[in-house]
C-alpha cells in the first residue's frame, strides 16, 4: 500500500461526559466535535458506554442498561500538546460537569500518498519524523 509513515509523540485527551449533556441547546458531544473540527484538530472519536455511573453529574441505577437516558460518552483526541492546550479554553466554556484526562503517548501515523488536499489537514505531521 502506498503510504507515508510518521513517528513521534502526541497527547491523548479523553473527555468523559454524559450523553444527555447539552451545550447551547444541542447535544454536548456534537457541539464538541464541531468545535474541535473548527479549531483545526486532526481528529476525534466518540465512544459510547453501555453502562456506568458518575461520568458527568448523574447516577445510573442497576437497570441502567435498559432504562438509562444518560449513558457515558468518551471523546478521544490524539493531537500535539500545543493543539490540546489551545482548545482547553473552549472545553472550559462548554463542559458543565465531567472529566478530562491527558496522557503522553508514542504515535505512528499512516497517511495515504494520494491524499486529497482537503484531507491533508486531517493528518497533521508537525513534529513527527517521516520514515521510509
Amino acid at each position: 500500500m502506498s503510504v507515508h509513515r510518521f513517528k513521534g509523540e502526541r497527547t491523548l485527551m479523553r473527555i468523559f461526559i454524559g450523553e444527555s449533556d447539552k451545550f447551547d441547546g444541542r447535544p454536548l458531544h456534537e457541539a464538541l466535535l464541531d468545535r474541535l473540527r473548527q479549531r483545526g484538530l486532526a481528529g476525534a472519536t466518540v465512544l459510547r458506554g453501555v453502562a456506568g455511573f458518575g461520568a458527568s453529574a448523574r447516577v445510573h441505577g442497576q437497570d441502567l442498561l435498559r432504562f438509562s437516558r444518560d449513558l457515558p460518552l468518551v471523546v478521544e483526541v490524539v493531537e500535539t500538546e500545543e493543539a490540546i492546550q489551545a482548545v482547553l479554553p473552549d472545553l472550559d466554556e462548554m463542559i458543565g460537569g465531567g472529566l478530562i484526562t491527558l496522557e503522553r503517548a508514542g504515535v505512528i501515523m499512516y497517511r495515504p500518498r494520494d491524499v486529497r488536499p482537503s484531507q491533508r489537514e486531517l493528518h497533521r505531521i508537525e513534529g513527527l519524523e517521516p520514515e521510509a
Copy 2:
C-alpha cells in the same frame, strides 16, 4: 456556565473482561459497577467491544460480529491511586479471567457549582487544585 474547575493527577484503571463473565450468578460488569459504587469510587464507564479475542478466557471465531455471545467489555475508572489500590482486593475476588491496566494521567475535573449534596461524592477532588 457556572462550573468549578480542578486540576491534578489521577490513575486510569481499565478492566478487560468478557460480556458473559459472571460473579455470584449475575453479569460480572454489573457486579463490578455495584461494588465500585459501594466502595465510593467517583465513577465508572463500561465500553463494549464489537469484536475481539482473548479478552477474558475465550476465543472468538471469524464470525464473531454476528454470532458471539461473549464480546469484550472494558470498564474504565479514573480515581486517586489510593482509591484504586483500596478496591483491588475486591477485583481479585470477583474477576475469574481478564486483565487490568493502570496508568497515571493528568486530569481536569469540571463540577457544577449547584451540584446537589448527594452528587458531591461523585466528583471527589482530593489532591486536585481548584482553579479560577
Copy 3:
C-alpha cells in the same frame, strides 16, 4: 475463585482506523484481528465509535450519527513491548490511513487455574510476577 494473579508492565497499543477501511478486499479490522491472532498476540478488543472525524482519511458531516457509513474504530491490544514491535511491520503493510498510539501501563492479569491448554497462550505471562 481459583485464579492465578500476575503483575508487571505491558504496552497498550491502540489502532485508530475507519469502519469502511479495507485490506485485501475485506474489512480492515477483521483482517487485523486475524493477523494479530496468527502472530500469537494475547488478545485484542475492537471498540466502535458512534461519531467522529478524521480517524482515518475521511470527514464525517454533522449528521454522522444517522448517515455515516464510516464510523471510527479503535483496536486495542495489551502485550509485551517485544510482541508489539514484532507485529508493527504487519500493521505497516495493512493500514492505509490511520493512527497508532503506544503507551506503557502497569498490568494485573488474572488466569483461571483450570484453564485449558488451548487457552493458555491467550494469557501469556512472560515477564510478569506471579502472586499468591
